[in-house]
């Protein structure tokens, strides 16, 4: 079984986001780029599955749509333990464009199980994974918090409102994963970092596609009013304010 993990590179989650060019694009000055947190968990789970011989997982590949600027993120994924990497040499213009490119690569390379994070922490679309599944015509689950392979079949747990469902899928298939899929993201070892240098990154040129959406401008959310402090000895005052002033209880 071959697993593909799709990865996005995003600003480190502690970044103070700023914009440039009349708020049309992200100010990348000083930004530390990281593997999107859900993709990192997804890669961790894929590697755990490969290390368990009973799953029959033979290889873990990562795929990414981005320019040479994101090679450091791909190398990091290789250092964590991915066997090989694919980069589609294009700016990911929107979710549709990105999914279109990834689906094209998957058709050429053939994978049994594709894993995507439930969203990227920059554009928060929650779209790419489901779009790839639809482009390829394969089944998928969203909000997957546990994934195993039993007798060659992926068995996943998905979160539903008020509970969980255990679902078995036929291969090829795709999992859109969320928190819980792996306990903690795996960190690259020194040896991993050394061997990553010699691992292959296959470059694909993009196929023609038009994005369906375009970001016109970014705006910062309106600042909140200053906090009103209440005497810790008199929390009843807080309850009174919530009841009479905010009217939320």
């Amino acid at each position: 079984m071959k697993i593909l993990v799709c990865i996005s590179n995003v600003p480190d989650t502690t970044t103070k986001v700023r914009f440039t060019e009349g708020n049309k694009s992200l100010d990348t000055a000083g930004i530390q780029w990281v593997i999107n947190p859900w993709d990192e968990l997804s890669l961790t789970r894929a590697l755990e599955l490969k290390e368990n011989p009973s799953t029959g997982v033979k290889s873990v590949t990562v795929a990414h749509v981005g320019t040479t600027a994101s090679e450091a993120t791909i190398r990091k994924a290789l250092a964590i333990g991915a066997d090989e990497a694919i980069r589609v040499n294009a700016e990911p213009a929107d979710a549709w464009y990105t999914a279109f490119q990834l689906a094209e690569v998957i058709r050429k390379e053939q994978f049994d199980l594709i894993m995507c994070g439930i969203e990227s922490s920059d554009y928060n679309g929650s779209l790419v994974g489901g779009m790839i599944a639809e482009f390829l015509g394969v089944p998928n689950l969203s909000a997957v918090s546990s994934l195993n392979i039993e007798n060659g079949k992926p068995v996943m747990v998905r979160e539903i409102d008020g509970g969980k469902e255990t679902v078995s899928l036929t291969v090829p298939c795709l999992a859109v994963v969320q928190k819980g899929i792996a306990k903690e993201p795996r960190i690259a070892s020194m040896r991993g970092i050394m061997t990553a240098r010699t691992k292959q990154i296959k470059i694909y040129e993009p196929v023609p596609a038009e994005p369906l959406t375009e970001i016109v401008v970014f705006e910062k959310p309106a600042p909140r009013a200053a906090c009103r402090f209440i005497d810790p000895e008199n929390p009843a005052e807080l309850i009174r304010l919530l009841q009479n002033e905010a009217k939320v209880i």
Binding site: S121, S126, P232
Partner: protein
């Protein structure tokens, strides 16, 4: 032309979020001078279906087919796309919850429709079709142009609210003649916790962080949530430590919520945490450190030890509930 809204069915009932979705769809339809068609999949009786009319649906389409018993993204998206084509839907609205996130991307590909994911207010304009969507995990809004003829919007839960109208809806139980193909997913097991207020549905959320000091101290926090008819949540370190289940983790990589009231107890308010709760209407912070960033996001604050303040809050709430 129409606006199609997909309303979810929970064991034969709608939830507040279905009514919120229809209210929002009504707002979009008014901008386009058209009407709202609501679609639901699964068994549901007429008395329940007709409720959508009160929020602005003109027609309600109900589809109940045995092969659609469980959510199969491929089959459900095929059914919704078929209805959308038949009804000439120009805008399709789904929830930004797990079900909406599962269906919207497939519909986008089927209908070649651009998606405005995670909207919380009505479109800015419809020509060209422009929406504000969530970006950078709540640290920005992206004004986004959707270029396609058909548009899909997913609405952040609890962000728009309800608006009731005097409206009489027409009901249709239809059997859409479409081949959904072989179902490739098989549900083996379902685990539900009945009667629990869901974090994503809750109007009030009481959430604990490391300031709670130990998993054994959660009693008063749970009691406070229960007295207020709310749900419990936690910060990431708490779920990572296994003090609380990861389903309760709110923040960038956990649940994104917009309750009316979010009470953060012993949570410092790191950027990643605020990313998940910053669209709450009111935030209350209780923390020992007066410089904790949570107080910058909060409207009301108490500088004090969570474990001492919580029991007093419980008493104060009991007092007003008398």
């Amino acid at each position: 032309m129409s606006v199609l809204v997909f309303t979810e069915n929970w064991d034969g009932k709608f939830k507040k979020l279905s009514f919120e979705l229809v209210s929002y769809a009504r707002g979009v339809a008014d901008m386009l001078n058209t009407s709202v068609i609501a679609l639901q999949i699964g068994a549901m009786d007429e008395a329940e279906l007709i409720k959508l009319g009160n929020f602005g649906a003109s027609r309600i389409i109900s589809i109940d087919r045995p092969e659609l018993k469980n959510l199969d993204n491929q089959a459900w998206a095929e059914v919704i796309a078929t209805v959308a084509r038949k009804e000439n839907a120009k805008v399709i609205i789904l929830s930004g919850n797990n079900t909406g996130k599962a269906l919207a991307p497939r519909l986008s590909v089927k209908l070649k429709a651009g998606v405005g994911a995670g909207v919380s207010r009505l479109p800015l304009e419809t020509e060209p079709f422009t929406v504000y969507k969530r970006a950078f995990s709540g640290n920005a809004l992206a004004k986004t142009l959707i270029r396609t003829e058909v548009k899909i919007l997913t609405l952040l839960q609890n962000s728009y609210g309800l608006s009731e109208t005097e409206n009489k809806a027409v009901m249709e139980r239809v059997d859409i003649q479409t081949d959904v193909g072989a179902i490739k997913t098989e549900v083996l097991d379902v685990h539900k916790q009945p009667g629990k207020v869901l974090l994503t549905d809750a109007d009030i959320v009481v959430s604990g962080g490391r300031g709670m000091k130990s998993p054994d101290n959660w009693g008063p926090l749970v009691e406070l949530a229960s007295l207020l008819g709310g749900a419990t949540a936690c910060s990431r370190p708490v779920s990572d430590e296994g003090w609380r289940p990861h389903e309760e983790h709110t923040g960038q990589t956990g649940k994104i919520i917009s309750p009316n009231l979010y009470i953060a107890v012993g949570i410092s308010g790191a950027t990643q945490h605020l990313a998940g709760v910053s669209s709450s209407k009111y935030i209350v912070a209780i923390n020992t450190d007066k410089d904790a960033p949570i107080f910058e996001a909060a409207q009301y604050g108490i500088v004090g030890d969570a474990l001492k303040v919580l029991p007093k809050l419980v008493e104060a709430v009991k007092e007003i509930k008398k």
